[in-house]
């Protein structure tokens, strides 16, 4: 317990140091008590593939949401967004963009040294040097139809039926071939006596 807390402490230190070295671009121009959070959403690196019919994801549909809906803003054509007049404290920024999964971002606005803002992805606790939000992955909403293959046809119920039939047609006569003619006659007599033949009898008779 002690150790883990020390570890967490050192991680935190690391984060703060990294932030000191490379302070986040988010400017904290204070007007009264509020600060501004500015950042950028980047979708460029993600090539959209196989997205819905005529529904290519657009930057214009991308929303940036502060604290679970307290405020909503949209991104500009260059991907930049900003929130103004945000009080000091720890905030949560989420990006909603259809087709992508974004990690929420924890943003700390320090009350003691105004203007210091730290940000970290909450999903993987990665600290951000700049508030550049990139999707963790793109989201594929549809199942992908597997290309036609013989295997899938065989695996379907109908395929299994045909397969079984083929088995009966070609393998069972082979099994019959191995049967001793004497036993065969016996079995046939038995059949006459009992009526319906049964496979288990045949198999048992063989062994």
């Amino acid at each position: 317990m002690e150790r883990s807390s020390a570890l967490i402490g050192s991680i935190f230190l690391l984060i703060s140091i990294s932030c000191l070295i490379n302070p986040i671009s988010a400017a904290a121009s204070g007007s009264g008590e509020g600060y501004s959070i500015a950042g950028r959403v980047k979708l460029d690196n993600f090539v959209t593939k196989g997205f819905g019919l005529g529904h290519s994801p657009k930057l214009s549909e991308t929303k940036v949401i502060l604290n679970g809906g307290q405020r909503t803003t949209f991104v500009r054509p260059d991907g930049y967004f900003s929130f103004h007049d945000v009080p000091a404290g720890t905030h949560l920024i989420e990006v909603s963009s259809i087709g992508y999964l974004f990690s929420p971002v924890r943003v700390d606005i320090s009350a003691r040294n105004p203007g210091k803002i730290q940000a970290a992805l909450t999903e993987n606790r990665r600290a951000l040097n700049e508030l550049v939000l990139e999707p963790m992955k793109d989201e594929q909403y549809y199942e992908i139809r597997e290309p036609f293959s013989m295997l899938s046809l065989v695996k379907s119920p109908m395929g299994l039926m045909i397969g079984f039939m083929v088995l009966v047609m070609f393998v069972f006569p082979k099994m019959m071939d191995g049967v001793d003619p004497e036993e065969m006659r016996q079995a046939q007599e038995q059949m006459r006596e009992h009526g319906i033949p049964s496979i288990s009898n045949l198999v048992a008779g063989r062994s």
């Binding site: 007007s31 500009r76 103004h84 039926m161």
Partner: protein, 980 residues
């Protein structure tokens, strides 16, 4: 061993069906998505000669949208945040839409063709709370165009190109409210006129390029000024005084202000009551709307005014439309019965009058926006956008409704499900059957091609089209699977719509409140919707009906009313104005002899009124009264109270009125806890089995009680949003309370957690979503409740000897011995709504439907929220389907039931069962509507649409051929044998 193998196989099957997922070509098969915008409050037309004609609107739902003027389709739409109401919209540079929102503090520009936000400026207004006014005028400054935003006593000039504040001027005068800003043509000076404390008129000259104050003057007004003004020319404006019966003509020439009082009664002969000024743009004409008529008044010379036109009935008047330098047009719309008369007046003269028939379920006209176009003969044609009482939007042109949009559906407040009529017997012709058979075969050939991946894109399109136009799903009759139903929704305007689950079309719609409007019921508003009669046993032949309950006034003490509406046709069967108020409607699990469901209406004095009024209903209720309880969560007082019913009520002697007696109360300490959420089980939820078999062949008994109430409280400091509380001062307490006895069954505290809390209760579990401040992530917790008193029923001897208590009813009267199991997980997204799937018999496994911040609906398997999950499940546990424990709940994109669609401003999710056990309907609503059917454990009880009948046919044919061939072969072989 075989059993284990089988289990493993089943597990494999079920694992493969983890997510509800569809293929892309199945979109629209079972689902539909409708987009709306809400009640329009501003509209700006963009009708250039070239390009698409469009109208940009902003709505009460905080949406801004661009609509195609020809069809009414949404070209683009954005929904702003909840606290970001749009104050004004305008066009700038002919290519940007400007919106001013959040009480004049945020200015945004949107690209007109595609809706991309171009820039956003926070105007940093210090006290936006009292700044209602803002002017949005375009001021030319070189190539750039400046937009002026006035707020109280300050002006900001914003560049239209990049949104930068070019200059700002705080006039720093106490009580100053700027009213009007204008710039004379080819001048660098801006004139800003304002009122100081409703007694002084102030005029400011400001340099348009720098914002420098050049000159200012004030003058006392002869009357108390109201905030309504109308600018009539470049140097004068008209204001209304606070008594709303006098006009003040204000002129400001060469830096001096003159004002002149003009009593309205001098101009309008039969004037009485309160007048209203309609904003105009210039041209010396202004419009005054009085309770009895609309007057068009022209200013002549100095301080002289003249009445130039009058529209007799009080109608709805549009803003002015400038046709040319001299001409101003207004639209005046009157409404009578089921027609509206649309009148255009140019400079007060009547230019055009058209009568248009309108469906009577749309109510009265609420707003009108006028636009003109130039006809081929250079004359002016007019079109108008009309907002009706039911919040629908119509475009009128040449005496016709060109298109209409049912935008009332953007504000659904309640919804219930009703059955469709039973199909009538007989009457299918042979030709029809042959035709459908042919179609059927053709369709399946296409489908087969699809499965074999041989189809061309044309074929794919044909398949899609075939799916969509399939008449089967849009029939107006009940089907065997229970896929076709009516969703009956109530909207904020009080209109009731019945939507067909097949394609979302409106089967019927009624605006009921105008029927009621009278002296005894001045302003009716509908509160809620309930199923009144559901087809069932005896009532199978009767039409199902819906109960609508509402209130006649605004306050909680105003009288209530109720409607009973036929759910097949929307016909009103019964109307009643009640003699008591309505605080809550409690549906009871009882019905009278004609299968009408019993409802208790609780009034503000805590009396319970029984409906329907009938002796048998009364009899049924009195018989069960001793077992009826009612509870009330009083959020403001942090109290939950439980009541029993007793005969005789405090306000009257009606036999249908019952008093209540307080039984228990749970008082939360108000200094440490605030109620933020309460949830309970759905009354009609069906539970299949009480027993749950554990991995080690043990049995656990679920504690299934209809009386469990989940309540979440947070510390007062954490009652605000995220970002307002530190982890140390925040906690969340979750309670499970029995609503009959008030007993707290379970209580758990989450330190460092805060709301918003969203919870869902089903069977013996509750799942709730909240924010963990320590990890700064959202969390979801599941609590499962088990009945310990039945735990020792496992003993076989006891079962044999009959010493078990399995048949004992579950009752809240005895003290239950319960055990809870609980587990928490991180969840990535904020949540807007949460629900659980319900199926007809409760056998199918459950999925939790989560409305995420991205306005999507995620179906999360309940197995992910199972307290028995461990990091390393044993072999047995794995076979049972227990998923290894992870700290975060997975988000599988394929399990979004809304796939690529978004339900704008998602507010509610509703799940209701189909007749087919595997399938459930999901209806989610916000500004948009989305409906789909999902099968949480796949459709194990029916063949999917994917099933290829043709492949089956081929297989059968192949089998028959093979049999024949082998038969022939064996005959031949036999013959040969015999010859030998």
């Amino acid at each position: 061993m075989e059993a284990r193998f089988l289990l493993g196989f089943l597990l494999l099957l079920s694992l493969s069906s983890f997510a509800f997922a569809i293929y892309e070509d199945q979109v629209g098969l079972a689902d539909w998505h409708k987009r709306y915008i809400g009640k329009v409050k501003h509209a700006v037309f963009h009708t250039q000669k070239t390009g698409r004609r469009r109208v940009v609107v902003s709505t009460e739902e905080n949406a801004i949208a661009s609509l195609d003027l020809r069809t009414g389709d949404i070209l683009w739409r954005h929904v702003l945040g909840k606290n970001d109401a749009v104050d004004q919209i305008g066009l700038s540079l002919g290519k940007y839409v400007l919106t001013l929102s959040s009480q004049g503090s945020v200015l945004r520009a949107w690209n007109l063709p595609d809706g991309q936000m171009v820039w956003e400026t926070d105007l940093q207004i210090s006290n936006p709370s009292n700044s209602f006014l803002h002017a949005l005028g375009n001021v030319k400054s070189g190539r750039d165009s400046l937009s002026l935003v006035c707020n109280g006593g300050s002006i900001r000039a914003v560049s239209s190109i990049d949104g930068l504040v070019v200059w700002k001027k705080d006039l720093s005068v106490d009580g100053l409210k700027l009213k009007h800003v204008f710039q004379p043509p080819e001048s660098d000076t801006i004139y800003a006129i304002g009122f100081i404390d409703s007694s002084l008129i102030a005029l400011y000259h400001i340099n348009a390029k720098t914002g420098e104050l050049l000159k200012h003057a004030t003058q006392a007004s002869s009357v108390d000024l109201s905030s309504e003004i109308s600018a009539i020319s470049s140097d004068s404006l008209v204001a209304l005084d606070t008594s709303r019966s006098n006009l003040l003509l204000i002129k400001f020439m060469a830096g001096t202000i003159t004002n002149h009082k003009l009593p309205l009664s001098d101009i309008v002969q039969d004037f009485s009551g309160l007048a209203e000024l309609i904003p105009t743009k210039s041209n010396d004409i202004f419009v005054v709307k009085t309770p009895s008529n609309v007057a068009f008044i022209k200013v002549k010379g100095d301080n002289e005014i003249e009445l130039i036109g009058k529209a007799d009935e009080a109608g709805i008047v549009s803003d002015s439309l400038t046709l040319s330098e001299e001409e101003q047009a207004f639209a005046v719309v009157h409404h009578s019965n089921n027609a509206i008369s649309f009148q255009v007046r140019i400079n007060g003269r009547e230019a055009l009058t058209e009568g248009i028939k309108i469906e009577d379920h749309r109510g009265h006209v609420k707003r009108v926006f006028l636009n003109n176009y130039v006809r081929t003969d250079k004359s002016h044609g007019f079109r108008a956008l009309i907002v009706m009482e039911d919040e629908s939007l119509l475009l009128m042109q040449q005496g016709e409704v060109v298109w209409s949009r049912e935008d009332g559906l953007a504000s659904i407040s309640d919804a219930v499900v009703a059955e469709l009529p039973v199909e009538k017997e007989g009457g299918v012709s042979v030709v029809e059957v042959e035709h459908t058979l042919l179609e059927w075969l053709k369709g399946h050939m296409l489908k087969l091609k699809g499965t074999l991946m041989l189809s061309t894109p044309d074929d794919m399109a044909a398949i899609q089209a075939m799916h969509l136009k399939s008449t089967e799903r849009n029939k107006m009759t009940r089907d065997h699977n229970g896929f076709r139903k009516l969703i009956i929704v109530l909207t904020r305007s009080g209109k009731v719509y019945a939507l067909h689950t097949g394609d979302g079309r409106i089967v019927w719609a009624h605006l009921l409140t105008p029927l009621l409007q009278s002296e005894s019921c001045p302003s009716p508003s509908v509160l809620t919707l309930r199923n009144w009669r559901v087809p069932h046993r005896k009532a199978l032949q009767e039409n199902p009906s819906i109960l609508l309950v509402g209130r006649c006034g605004a306050g909680p003490e105003s009288h209530g009313f109720l409607f009973i509406v036929d759910s097949y046709s929307g016909k009103v069967l019964e109307t009643q104005i009640l003699d008591h108020s309505i605080a809550e409607v409690v549906p009871l699990p009882l019905a009278d002899s004609s299968e009408q469901k019993l409802h208790l209406v609780i009034d503000d004095k805590l009396n319970a009124h029984l409906y329907p009024r009938g002796s048998d209903a009364l009899e049924v209720f009195v018989r069960e009264m001793a077992n009826m309880y009612y509870y009330k969560v009083e959020n403001a007082k942090e109290v939950i109270k439980g009541y029993a019913f007793k005969k005789g009520c405090s306000t009257g002697s009606s036999a249908y009125c019952f008093g209540t007696r307080e039984l228990w109360s749970v008082v939360f300490p108000s200094d440490s806890e605030r109620i933020v959420a309460a949830a309970r089980r759905k009354i009609n939820e069906v539970v299949h089995t009480q027993a749950k078999i554990m991995t080690n062949q043990d049995v656990m008994y679920k504690y299934i009680s209809k009386n469990i109430l989940f309540v979440a409280t947070v510390s007062p400091k954490a009652a605000g949003g995220i970002g307002s509380a530190a982890p140390d001062e925040a906690w969340l307490v979750a309670y499970l309370i029995d609503t009959v006895t008030g007993r707290i069954l379970h209580r758990v505290t989450h330190q460092g957690a805060q709301g918003p809390v969203h919870a869902v209760v089903s069977e013996n579990w509750v799942v709730y979503h909240y924010f963990n401040l320590r990890a700064h992530r959202y969390e979801m917790t599941v609590i499962e409740i088990y009945d310990q008193s039945r735990a020792d029923n496992k003993d076989v001897m006891k079962l044999v000897l009959g010493k078990h208590n399995l048949t004992a009813p579950i009752t809240s009267y005895s003290r239950p011995e319960i055990a809870t199991k609980s587990q928490s997980y991180f969840f990535t997204h904020s949540v807007k709504a949460i629900a659980v799937t319900t199926t007809a018999r409760g056998i199918t496994s459950k999925q939790i439907l989560i409305g995420t911040i991205g306005d999507q609906v995620l179906a999360l398997d309940k197995r992910y929220l199972d307290p028995r999950r461990t990091a390393n499940p044993s072999q047995e546990e794995k076979e049972e389907g227990i998923i290894p424990l992870t700290d975060t709940l997975p988000i599988i994109p394929q399990s979004y039931v809304t796939h690529t669609r978004q339900v704008g401003d998602l507010r509610g999710i509703m799940s209701f069962p189909a007749n087919l056990e595997s399938t459930t309907h999901v209806f989610s609503y916000g500004i948009d509507l989305f409906y789909t059917r999902i099968a949480p454990s796949r459709t194990y009880d029916s063949l999917t649409d994917e099933f290829s009948y043709v492949l089956l046919l081929i297989t059968v044919v192949v089998l028959i051929v093979a049999i024949l061939v082998t038969w022939a072969m064996s005959q031949k072989k036999d013959l040969q044998e015999k010859w030998r």
